[in-house]
């Protein structure tokens, strides 16, 4: 081809300028990881509509936006009042991907528990990072299925420097929820941030970790990756809220590894974003595990909300239970893809998947695809998908008790998603999400 070489996308071009400061963080092996990841992202490119995993989620608008690296933004604590950032929880805060200790809310933690930035974790718990960091997300080894390349996980890795680490050692029960708060606020120039989160709950330990992505204005790109390791017999409730601005791009990937006898609960809520996607993968690597994936999403206006989930049942005698519920209004698009792979060895797997979407307008749509691939013969796997309007029988029941049609409908739409929010054990947090949901639906009426 003749002509000037194509100019690299700003998300790639920024790397050269940032490399020296990135290099200061973490061991030498990380430098190599970043460089390889960038090369891999360049090789894969932005996924087009022909990519099976990106068929309904087009990233063209993202590709056409120029992003600057994020630094130096400040958010006043008072501006977080009335949001999840204002709740009195143990909080480790970030603004535009950078640590923002002024928004922290420290509390005493049990001995041995580490909650801090990735930079501090390299100093204080290097061996944990060596064992778990970048060991899971986007790794295709030994996985069934095709299209295992995850370009944006590679992009996140290329910039891996800032982020949060939660490490709970063996046998420790952390009662108070740990809140990781990522606030984003853009000025005139859109920025990109690539936060990284690592959550390690070791043998017999338990914890509740909340990840909140909270938009505070403007156009920006959050490209976050979370890795979770749940040890033998450990328990983790993992809450994730995506409430970016309606101009923002949010691509998030969460990869979980569960050891035998462990229980992992994900309560993932998606409210914001112009284009928002969450890839949640759980790989079950021991017997007798419980996996509960609860999801609620709301899309209005021109929002696109995509949830891709994947459970790898690689071991026998494990249960997974998944419920995703979405409300779509305006011209919003929802995408749900739920994969369950049951490996040949995974006998006595009990997997149940449900996804339901409520469409509030004629122009709203949802593309839903349950995908069960079963290679073992003694398993119980079910899936069900419904797309529709409000249940007539419930509407009649409420109206017969005196509630007006509009009021009854609003109550049922709210309840449809509230049912998922109620699974969040942190009451104050769940209550606030219910209020947010209510306000979002009210605005649409």
């Amino acid at each position: 081809m003749i002509g000037a070489p194509e100019k690299a996308h700003s998300l790639v071009a920024a790397h050269a300028a940032l490399e020296p400061s990135l290099a200061a963080m973490g061991p030498a092996t990380l430098r190599e990881l970043r460089r390889n990841a960038l090369a891999e992202f360049v090789r894969l490119g932005f996924p087009g509509p022909k990519h099976e995993e990106w068929k309904y989620t087009h990233v063209r608008a993202l590709e056409e936006t120029e992003f600057a690296p994020a630094y130096g933004a400040k958010v006043d604590r008072n501006n977080l009042k009335g949001t999840v950032g204002g709740l009195a929880l143990f909080t480790l805060a970030f603004v535009n991907g950078e640590r923002a200790p002024e928004l922290d809310q420290p509390q005493a933690l049990p001995d041995g528990v580490f909650v801090g930035s990735l930079a501090d974790a390299f100093d204080r718990i290097p061996r944990i990072l060596e064992r778990f960091l970048a060991r899971q997300a986007g790794i295709a080894d030994g996985k069934l299925g095709s299209h295992l390349d995850m370009p944006f996980v590679r992009l996140n890795e290329a910039y891996m420097a800032e982020g949060a680490v939660v490490s709970v050692p063996s046998g420790v029960q952390v009662e108070a929820p740990i809140h990781l708060l990522f606030v984003s606020k853009a000025g005139a120039m859109p920025f990109a941030a690539h936060p990284r989160v690592l959550i390690v709950v070791e043998e017999g330990a338990s914890a509740t970790v909340i990840e909140s992505y909270l938009g505070h204005g403007g156009t920006y790109f959050t490209n976050c990756v979370t890795e979770v390791a749940v040890g033998q017999g450990a328990t983790l409730e993992h809450v994730r809220l995506q409430q970016e601005t309606l101009e923002a791009f949010h691509l998030g990937a969460t990869q979980v590894h569960q050891a035998g006898g462990s229980t992992y609960t994900s309560n993932a809520v998606s409210f914001g974003g112009r284009l928002a996607r969450h890839d949640l993968g759980v790989r079950i690597e021991g017997e007798r595990t419980e996996t509960l994936l609860n999801g609620a999403y709301v899309g209005m206006g021109d929002q696109l909300v995509d949830n891709h989930t994947r459970i790898d049942h690689a071991k026998p005698n494990c249960n997974s239970f998944e419920v995703y519920k979405g409300i779509l209004g305006g011209r919003a698009t929802g995408v749900f893809n739920g994969k369950i792979f049951v490996y040949q060895d995974a006998q006595k797997t009990d997997a149940k998947q449900t996804n339901q979407a409520l469409l509030l307008s004629r122009e709203a749509s949802v593309n839903t695809k349950p995908q069960l691939e079963i290679f073992a013969d003694d398993v119980k796997c079910t899936h069900g998908a419904t797309v529709g309007q409000i249940r007539e029988d419930a509407l009649f029941y409420l109206r017969s008790r005196g509630l007006g049609k509009a009021e009854a409908e609003a109550m049922l739409v709210f309840a449809f998603a509230a049912e998922v929010l109620e699974k969040i054990s942190v009451r104050a947090y769940a209550d606030l999400l219910e209020q947010t949901l209510f306000a979002k639906l009210e605005k649409e009426r």
Binding site: A394, F396, Y397, S400, R401, G402, G404, M411, A417, A418
Partner: protein, 252 residues
């Protein structure tokens, strides 16, 4: 209070009610009995305003208004209450929230002020106790995970809280054991008053031992084939619907 005249109704092309005439006055308790498929539940559903039925002929007047012209919520506002045969589970809507919204919706319809929180809670606690319902049910979603008996008692509990002028009980006795039946009957009897009317729709005479009706009507194939006093229920119990139907058929 309620005047049903020559009511014909059905679903799509199938006629279910074929000319019902029934007058219910304040202070009266009527029982409508009939075999399966006779149209009992259809009648109850049409009175409450459930969609899906075509009324092809006849009129229903409630408190002087054309009932069929009103939406379900307006009927509730006018003072009609249907205790459902199959109460609907509504996950995500808390029982307390629902009940309070219902009470206040009906009060607004009548131009009354909303009920304050403490009066509401007092009323709810009193009626729950009366119906032997566990107060923890209030924290749960409407009917979700309730046992069959709890669902039916919850209907009567709502009835007691909402205090309608006309209560229609659609097979409230089905699936109840004798103790639950007594509790339900006690709840209904406590609501009997000169200003209020009750229509009990049932297949069996059993419930009528505890809620003693003033009038009994036998519904067969979409028509009331016989009407009488409470003794008619006993006669039905002895002779069965088949014979009543034959007698009635012969009389026409």
């Amino acid at each position: 209070m309620l005047q049903i005249k020559n009511l014909h109704a059905g679903v799509e092309d199938k006629a279910i009610l074929k000319g019902i005439d029934l007058t219910v006055n304040a202070g009266e308790v009527h029982a409508i009995m009939g075999p399966n498929g006779s149209g009992k539940s259809t009648l109850a559903s049409i009175l409450a305003g459930k969609s899906g039925y075509d009324v092809t002929k006849g009129t229903v007047r409630f408190q002087g208004k054309d009932l069929l012209d009103l939406g379900p919520e307006e009927r509730a506002g006018e003072g009609l209450f249907l205790a459902f045969q199959y109460p609907v589970e509504i996950p995500g809507v808390s029982s307390t929230y629902f009940l309070r919204a219902a009470i206040n919706a009906v009060r607004r319809y009548r131009g009354e002020p909303e009920m304050d929180a403490s009066t509401f809670m007092k009323l709810v606690r009193e009626k729950m106790e009366q119906l032997d319902l566990d107060p923890s049910l209030l924290n749960r979603s409407v009917n979700e995970g309730f046992s069959g008996g709890e669902k039916k008692r919850n209907e009567i509990f709502q009835l007691a809280v909402l205090q309608p002028k006309l209560a229609v009980l659609d097979e409230t006795d089905s699936g109840l054991d004798i103790d639950a039946l007594k509790v339900v009957a006690h709840g209904v009897n406590a609501l009997r008053s000169p200003e209020r009317a009750i229509v009990v729709v049932t297949h069996y005479q059993r419930l009528l031992n505890f809620i003693v009706p003033d009038f009994v009507h036998v519904l067969v194939d979409g028509r009331i084939v016989r009407s009488g006093g409470k003794e008619l229920a006993l006669e039905l119990e002895e002779r069965g619907y088949g014979e009543i139907e034959n007698v009635a058929g012969a009389g026409v």
